[in-house]
Amino acid sequence: MTIFTAHELYSAIEEKEDFLLLDVRNEEDHKRFSIEGPNEVMMMNIPYFDFIEEPEEMVAQVPDDKPVRVVCAKVGSSEFVANLLEGLGRENVSHLDGGIISWGNLLVSKRINSESDDYEVWQFNRPGKASCSYGLVFEKEMFLFDPSRNVDYYLQFAESRGAIITHIFETHLQADYISGSPKIVEMTGAVLVAHDGDYSEALHKYHSVTDGEEINFSTEKGPAVSCVHTPGHTPGSMTYLIGEKYMISGDTVFIVSIGRPDLGKMVVEWAQMLYDTLHRRISVMPDDLIVLPGHYTDWEAEADSEYRIMNDFATVKKMNEDIYSIAKIDDFVTYIQGNMRNQPEIYGQIRQVNFGKLTPCENEQNTMDLGKNECAASKHGGIENA
């Protein structure tokens, strides 16, 4: 029986390989979270228990003109269905090692800056969450921004660059995924950098970052990180500028849309804060800054030709003219209110985990952490709740 990893699945989607993805989870789980990648995937959902009931009929429904990759929650049912397909004469059948959870936790790294620079900027894309974390490597040190729970990946990455992680920057307290920071801090002794506006309630030790602060590598060489307080999505939201070239914008500026300011339930106050931030702090930034956002929702609109989620700030402003051109604070609040939608219930619990107040077991964390983000302010920039 052939198996494939989540990373191999990602590569197959990126390289536009012709195959059928057969999701054998129940219909509800499939609807709640399914595999999305940088290109369209031909997908079918037939629960494994339908294969149990009517094996021949169900196998007949699966097209036989292309390779079939089978996916389930863990691994048992996809193996079962893959075996059944092979037993009934199908060739070119494989199934996902580790199930949908391994897809949910997958990170894909892409170099952002030029190979000739003396420092490295990396994007760690998490397709299952449609979120991005970042790494800045200079000589033997690495700064990490907004890491998710796949901490081994970051540690191995740092090792592969011959560097150690010395600082972890949080752009804000995440509500849609469990942060990997506390674990990495515990394992490496790195300094956690976060703003009081979000983290004062947290039980973790952190360096309280202030607006205008600059954080340097220990040698005082290489690019500095300039910290800009950009409240709105949350009161403690930060934007980190790397060497005046890159804008790690967290959930404030997205390539399409901006971060929604209603997750804290204080819609009007936070929307007003965000308006102020956009006009006084964000819009005044240089046009040639490269925006590196915390989330995306649409690969086609937001990724470049190398499947990196990035664009220059001038283009970002043009793409979101409907938002940036709003000239009155009341109109902005109205826009936000008009685009509001429910947030997933689990977000409240994820915040508690990120505060360090709740410590679910690994299995529970896997379940809590699964699913695409719901962080964009505009409806077109996000999926609706079922």
Binding site: E28, Y48, F49, I52, E53, A73, K74, S77
Partner: protein
């Protein structure tokens, strides 16, 4: 303890085994009879009811007993 006609313990088994074993067992029972199914696989908690409603069996009740999930499945016609 609810009334049931037969029992199936799937403790320690993961998908697809709980649904598969339940099907094999209940197929041999008469319509209207109740099978008590015990599973430790959280994945089965969504799958058993989804499967049952598709094939016409009825889940009379389900509950958690410690780290086990217990389902009472009534065989359909």
């Amino acid at each position: 303890m609810k009334e049931h006609d037969d029992e199936l313990d799937c403790s320690g088994l993961n998908c697809p085994m709980p649904v598969l074993k339940t099907k094999l067992k209940i197929d041999k029972m008469d319509a209207g009879k109740v099978l008590r199914v015990i599973t430790t696989d959280p994945g089965a908690c969504n799958d058993l009811p989804a499967w049952a409603s598709k094939v016409g069996h009825e889940i009379l009740s389900n509950c958690e007993e410690g780290d086990k999930y217990v389902f009472y499945v009534k065989r359909g016609a």
